[in-house]
Amino acid sequence: MYKVIVIDDEPLARSLIVKLLQAYPNFEVVDECPDGFEAFKSIQKHNPDLLFLDIQMPRINGFELLEMLDKPPAVIFTTAFDEYALKAFEIHAVDYLLKPVTRERFDKAIQKCQHQALNKNIDAVSNLIEDQVYEGYQHRIVVKDRGNIRIIPAEEIYYIEANDDYVKIVSKEGSFLKKNTLTNIEKILDPNLFVRVHRSYLMPISQLQSIEPYEKNSHIALLHCGMKISVSQAGMTRLKSLLRL
């Protein structure tokens, strides 16, 4: 018996999946969720084997939800996105269903699921956002905070520090760890607002209060929040070009 959670903000879209799944007695729908927040709680509670996941949902989208999960279950995306856009994340999922979902296509996806994918561990999920399925830059970062999801708006970030496999995001609300590399985070944030001042530091340009020389070839940046972070020589060059000095 496979446990399934259906996640979609449209009630009828959820009902359709549930209805179509009734033909498969070895799949059991344990929960339906209208948004990522509820889904996150539900996934931790039920530990499902398969998700039907809509991409565009209230508050946090499908990708952000997956990023939050330590061991993401198998996923079938359901979306009205264009096919070419889907190719970008095709590799990360068992399958995807384009809306309107047809019985024929649904059956294929389930078969694919039964044959191979449920045993396969999907580990490429953390790179989802990086594939830039969405155009443009992110204006926020989603992190896990003691079992809850927290959204950090980009303008509330003081700085981001590399910390082994994690990054430490220091913001108005405190500091949070996220499993990702600083280089990835740098890619998804607007380069006109954020600057990599050091191998280990990324900071919003608006936080800069002053720069003081430190040792040879290095500087210290003083931030509005009162913290000090190191600025490397390359970081200084980037900072200068961004400030047009």
Binding site: A13, L16, D35, E38, R59
Partner: protein, 343 residues
């Protein structure tokens, strides 16, 4: 000013040259043996004053343009300038060559001739300026019109994109798909609503201005589908007030993108029930349209609208030559968009 004068100045030297030639040949036509020095002073003075007069005309006509009787106005201005030119040049001449009695007498004899020549020359210059100004105004108008046409095209294109590549349509079909299984009667109803919407959007004329009531009907058919898709989560409150508001005209494709934005932000930004308020009122020949939706700071706008409030603001500015017609406010998690349309 000087730059413009030089740029369009190709026509200007001709009347001045003719005028100077006229002044120079006057003594010969009246058969006197002019002293070269007096003649040179005469020519030099007129050259200086006619150039000054032409600058004055250019400045005067550009600074105080008249829409009506522009040529008559120019002729009159040229006449006044010609008299001034004549009087001032005469005064200077008399004081500079007071000992050349023959030439002074010649000047006295040719007064009328000089005045007429000055008038012709300055009239010519004034008309060149009037024509040029007219041409420039036309050019500006054409450019403005072109901009208006382009922005309408953009809006149209946006609408077409919405129709041709609509998540909206796919999602609606998906809902119908579900309803066929769950509630066939409701599925039929939804098909009807979707057809209504599609029919209205295909049928719509590509006009710059449309009736507000017509636009509201269209929007209603759109909202009817959204309410089915999102069930009880979406509620619309619509209030109209003011006399004859239903006769008001608004630019096409202005209201719908704003409402779509409101729904998207409202629904994607919140998990609970979402109330969208539409308030339309006509006051002091200004149609006020207020659209309010709840929003959440932390949620990102859903991507792919492409033609946002900025495009609408630009169109309103072009259409009405006013920059204060679109206003947005964020207050207490309520996002308000206010559009004013002059009637």
């Amino acid at each position: 000013m000087l730059k413009r004068f030089v740029k369009y100045g190709r026509l200007v030297p001709l009347p001045i040259l003719l005028f100077i030639v006229g002044i120079a040949t006057l003594p010969f036509s009246s058969g006197i043996d002019a002293i070269w020095k007096s003649l040179a002073i005469d020519i030099g003075l007129h050259l200086v004053f006619v150039v000054i007069a032409s600058f004055f005309l250019e400045w005067r006509i550009r600074k105080y343009p008249t829409k009506v009787l522009a040529t008559l106005h120019a002729t009159f201005l040229a006449f006044v300038s010609a008299i001034l030119l004549f009087v001032i040049a005469d005064l200077f001449l008399c004081s500079l060559i007071f000992n050349d009695k023959i030439y002074l007498a010649h000047i006295d004899n040719t007064e009328v001739m000089r005045l007429i020549m000055a008038w012709l020359c300055l009239g010519w210059l004034a008309h060149i300026t009037v024509l040029r100004k007219h041409q420039e105004d036309n050019q500006k108008e054409i450019e403005l019109h072109q901009q208006a046409v382009i922005s309408l095209r953009e809006a149209e294109l946006f609408r077409l994109r919405q129709q041709l590549q609509p998540h909206f349509l796919y999602n609606s079909l998906n809902s119908i798909n579900a309803l066929i299984q769950l509630d066939p009667e409701k599925a039929q109803e939804m098909v009807g609503k979707l057809s209504d919407f599609l029919r209205l959007s295909v049928k719509r004329d590509v006009e710059e201005f449309i009736n507000i009531q017509e636009e509201l009907n269209y929007i209603e058919s759109y909202l009817a589908i959204e309410s089915v898709r999102f069930g009880n989560r979406l509620k619309i409150e619509s209030i109209q007030s003011g006399e004859d508001w239903e006769k008001a005209k608004i630019p096409a494709f202005i209201l719908q993108p704003i409402l779509e934005n409101a729904i998207k932000f409202g629904l994607y930004g919140n998990t609970g029930n979402v109330i969208i308020k539409i308030n339309i009122s006509l006051r002091d020949k200004l149609l006020h349209i207020l659209i309010e939706n709840p929003f959440d700071d932390t949620t990102q706008p859903p991507r792919g609208t492409g033609f946002g409030l900025e495009g609408i603001s630009r169109r309103l500015t072009i259409l009405f030559a006013r920059a204060d017609l679109l206003e947005i406010k964020k207050h207490n998690h309520i996002f308000s968009t206010i559009v004013k349309i002059p009637q």
